[in-house]
Symmetry: C3
């Protein structure tokens, strides 16, 4: 195994062929990664993390205990993956993203910089979220323990600066324009935008 300088790697670390590792990396106990995996400088993989083949974890990112990342997925710089989160294959997270505990994401999901997914968010395959996306979770301010998140269904797409309010579901292949606040469920195949977001048209 070839690593950079000053790494703190547990003895039981298991990796496949062609493993590359930067400097100042932490890998805790029970971590298993596949072939052709790349871990960049200052990344930390907490206990029990699993990464598929061809996965990458970029600089200053952290994967918390028990999280799983699929084949070919890239966890970009300054990104936090919460405890027991499960992320599918060929996903891409740019920078400053936050996938909180127990989120479940499908395959081919992409998120631009500064996205936040509240805990337990469920995202299906082929979903595209651009810059500064957020799934919120607190329906009533001051009652922070009563949380509620919706589902983003397969093929849904979101422009920059979209806010999904608590418990709101987004339909298959729906599209939400930039700078929108979505307060209501959006049916399959519709385009909505605005603050609050309203129906604009059906997808072609």
């Amino acid at each position: 195994m070839q690593t950079g300088k000053f790494c703190d790697i547990a003895d039981d670390f298991v990796h496949g062929e062609n493993f590359r590792c930067g400097s100042f990396v932490i890998i805790e106990k029970g971590v298993v990664v596949g072939n052709n995996v790349r871990i960049e400088d200052y990344a930390v993989l907490k206990s029990g993390v699993r990464l598929g083949d061809n996965a990458a974890v970029e600089e200053f990112s952290m994967l918390l205990s028990g999280s799983r990342v699929g084949n070919g997925t890239k966890i970009g710089t300054y990104t936090k993956v919460g405890k027991n989160a499960v992320i599918g294959d060929n996903c891409k997270f740019t920078s400053f993203c936050e996938i909180r505990d127990n989120c479940i994401l499908g395959n081919n999901v992409s998120m631009g910089s500064r996205g936040t997914l509240s805990a337990d968010t469920h995202i299906e395959d082929n979903v595209i979220m651009k810059y500064s996306f957020v799934v919120t979770d607190t329906p009533v301010l001051g009652h922070e323990k009563d949380k509620k998140v919706g589902i983003l269904k397969r093929g849904s797409r979101f422009g920059a600066n979209v806010t999904i309010m608590p418990g709101v579901n987004i339909g298959e292949n729906a599209e939400i324009g930039a700078c929108s606040q979505v307060r209501n469920d959006v049916p399959d195949g519709e385009v909505w935008y605005g603050n609050p977001a309203r129906f604009f048209k059906k997808q072609n």
Copy 2:
């Protein structure tokens, strides 16, 4: 004292019982922390920082010189606390937060991810700020040296993506809805929202 690997800790560091410390941690001169304090990997405490009992500083966070953090307060991941900032007891900052120099925060203040408080912001007790909150400070673009920030009074609450314009004050127990821009002072006990935010109703 038990620490992780490769730490850079000043000789005069003072800590209470049950101190826990990750790897790649920097603690400069003159730092004093209480009992049951937890400092996670890649955290840096600059000179003269003080932390109360049961406080936590999570991964990739930085506390600048002279800042003070109360008992039971958690400084979340990727969070920056400015010089001489004073933060009360039992506060919580999620991730990617920025509390700039000389801010003063009361007790039980919570801030979701990606919040920014301009320098000298004053926040009273029991204030809740959700995701991507910002207190701005430049009334006239191009005159960056003339700064002005308001006060967030006790019990005020803010949904996701709220922008407080320079010098705007928020009253006690006032509530501001998600995705609002607040340009005017909000009186005690009122609910406002919108861009720009307008009066909606009195609190019950």
Copy 3:
């Protein structure tokens, strides 16, 4: 050369007088910096990076391969400068900023926290961007490879939370109010705001 602890610095590193360097710093091959340069803790300068005199790179920041930073420019905390980006003199980036690959920025450019510039963005001299600014680049969601970015001309100014849509150009000395989404080109010397942004008045 005086450095902090646990640094990983290439043998061929070239620096001028009064170089200061924190702990846990990475400097790769082919890096050249001028006089009075300051590199703070956990910063990484990838191969071939060049910094002018009096430049500073703050904590947790990264400069990717081939990027160039002018004299007196400050790269703030948690900031990422992309490959081959070129940044002029006396610029200032606060925190959590992202200047993507091949961006070209003039002199005296300032960006508040959490700004993102898409790849290839061109910014002229004396531009001011406040908190959470973004230049987007994907005109059609789902066609992520067809990217388009506009130019921000000299002296243009942007309040907090402004989103520039793909390919939109901003004129000289134009000003965009806080919380605006800009969908159309803005002529020289005009003030616009809103979501979507509309003409408000001519600059005085």
